[in-house]
Amino acid sequence: MEELLFDLGFVLTHYNYWMFVVLMMTGLYITVSYGNLVKKIVGLNIFQTAVFLFYVSTGKIVGGTAPILTDDPAAVYSNPLPHVLILTAIVVGIATTALALALVVRIRETYGTVEEDEIIALEHEMDAAIGVER
């Protein structure tokens, strides 16, 4: 194992952080690269889920079990605190997603589109119209 180009033990204990970074960046890419507002929200949700996975993975103990206490005195439990914080974050996340989707519905009612570049073009038109009136 020592002759390998990389330290396998190091990779095995860090690869999961890298997985979540890759997922997070996929979500970020979807959010910044596409103009459709609904798709942006899906991208944000992917980003958010990657953060949750990263956070929960810090509390994991290899060989441990879920923190539901048993009578076995030798049992090792994973850390319950990250789980609690992420439970709260998931519920807050769905609340903000609902708010964002409601905003998308209102934007569609006002501008007739949910594409970012079309909304910006309409905004410029409206600004120009107001400027002419003044």
């Binding site: 949700n45 993975s57 509390g59 879920a66 769905i94 609340a95 609902a98 989707l101 007739g112």
Partner: protein, 194 residues
């Protein structure tokens, strides 16, 4: 220890590959209905990943909220707006560059992280042992997550309820209370389009 790590790694990497494939499919698809469905699948698979990380309660919540409620909200939005995304006109290189640099910085940051799954990580040595030891004594239920959620950190949960309440009020104001001005705005928007 190492055998346990390899076992976890196989399942983890398999689930992760599925998640990345779904995320890429979401990026490439233009049909928003398919995107909403894939987002639900993504949540369900991430719930599987939570199970491998010993977070049963989080997995339940993610499956119910992420795959259930979130998909319903998304479909409701699609019914009120559009079904199809318009093609992207600008080049994807700048966003790709930004994501690559951010990702590289984050991975550089993880090199200093404590090893995954070790029992003596800093995160395991502060309040967690107290919660695990005192939950049967002080709270009297076997589920340590529920004990921390509802009792030890009950104020967090109160704050969460306040956030959900605020979001619910805001959604009602946006969709219900603003109905008249919304229709007025829509007329203005349509006129602008013509």
């Amino acid at each position: 220890m190492s055998a346990g790590l390899v076992g976890i790694a196989v399942i983890d990497i398999l689930l992760f590959l599925f998640l990345v494939l779904i995320a890429i499919a979401i990026a490439r698809l233009r049909n928003l209905f398919a995107i909403a469905m894939l987002a639900g699948v993504f949540s369900l698979l991430s719930a599987g990943l939570f199970v491998t990380l010993d977070a049963m309660d989080v997995a339940f919540t993610e499956a119910a909220v992420g795959a259930g409620i979130s998909t319903v909200l998304m479909l409701g939005t699609l019914a009120l707006t559009v079904r199809e995304e318009k093609p992207v006109t600008h080049s994807p290189f700048l966003p790709l560059l930004v994501c690559a640099i951010t990702g590289a910085a984050l991975i550089y940051g993880t090199l200093d992280m404590p090893p995954f799954g070790a029992a003596d990580n800093p995160v395991q040595t502060h309040v967690a042992p107290y919660y695990l030891e005192q939950t049967p004594v002080e709270i009297g239920i076997p589920n340590a997550v529920a004990a921390v959620l509802a009792s030890y950190r009950g104020f967090d949960t109160l704050g969460e309820v306040v956030v959900v309440f605020t979001a619910a009020i805001a959604v009602l104001l946006l969709l219900g209370g603003g109905g008249r001005s919304g229709r007025h705005g829509k007329v203005a928007g349509e006129r602008k389009k013509d």
